[in-house]
Amino acid sequence: MNWLSNWSPSWQWFHRLGSPRWFYQTTGRWLPWLSLLAFMLLSTGLLWGLGFAPQDAKQGNSFRIIYLHVPVSFLALAGYYIMAIAGAVGLIWKMKLSYMVMKSAAPIGAALTFLALFTGAIWGKPTWGTYWVWDARVTSMLILLFLYSGVLALQYAFHSNEAGNKAGAILALVGTVNIPIIYKSVDWWYTLHQPATIKFTSAPSMHPDMFQPLLVMILGFYCFYTVALFLFTRAEILRRERKSVWVKELAIARDQA
């Protein structure tokens, strides 16, 4: 891959993007605004969804769990793309920062997948009459949780960072076969889980009064995910780059403050 790094200056942006220091400084400037945006969107969406949206004709108020369940599940899936792509970039270009992003995406994805299953179970009780069912969607989401945990565990299973990174990236890439299964599970094996509320190809199967707060929540969760991913990656950068001059300077400046 030497020809890639020699191909300057058009590849300069790529290398700068791969610099942990650049990432740390840039995200440091973005974080306050992004956090504010996430907080505002999430609090608006939650108040709107829990208090103002009309209740569902069939499910009553239990349907309000949708305002957490759908955005959390959305990001649990989107986060997998980010982890797998970061792993692939790490494997192909041997980019350190990319592996750090991959490693950071694993605990966030696991937490969100857990929430998707948990809110789903709680929603299942009043709606299906049971907390848990081995439905195709639920089962494939459980596999997603195992994949996230696997990538996380592999990071600590090897003595060298590099071996753990590579193994994690390969598992993440192999695991992508699960993603289309999750998406299609509600159509292929139509059992208890209701079909998707939002589709890219058609209008949502939901009244606008119910749909608008959901959209706000999804946007809010995208911002929240980005904030969390930045924070985890920044912590990882500080751990891995502790020997570099800029981290030492940062530590001294922080120590004196």
Partner: protein, 64 residues
């Protein structure tokens, strides 16, 4: 657009579905809070460790 509940009690009860809805909300908030606090603590500790190592190295140089 109007508020769907007439009192706070009704908002909490949600027509019998309150325990389900509010458990989902509280657990989600707790997990999300963890996703923010955990990396912030990790960063803080990492920087503290680096500063401590630098101070230690400086001290041992003075002694010799």
């Amino acid at each position: 657009m109007k508020f769907q509940f007439e009192s706070l009690q009704q908002l909490f009860a949600m027509g019998g579905h309150g325990p389900y809805v509010w458990t989902a909300v509280l657990v989600s908030m707790a997990v999300m809070l963890w996703l923010i606090v955990r990396p912030l603590q990790d960063s803080k500790r990492a920087l503290k460790d680096v500063a401590r190592d630098i101070a230690r190295a400086a001290n041992s140089k003075e002694e010799t």
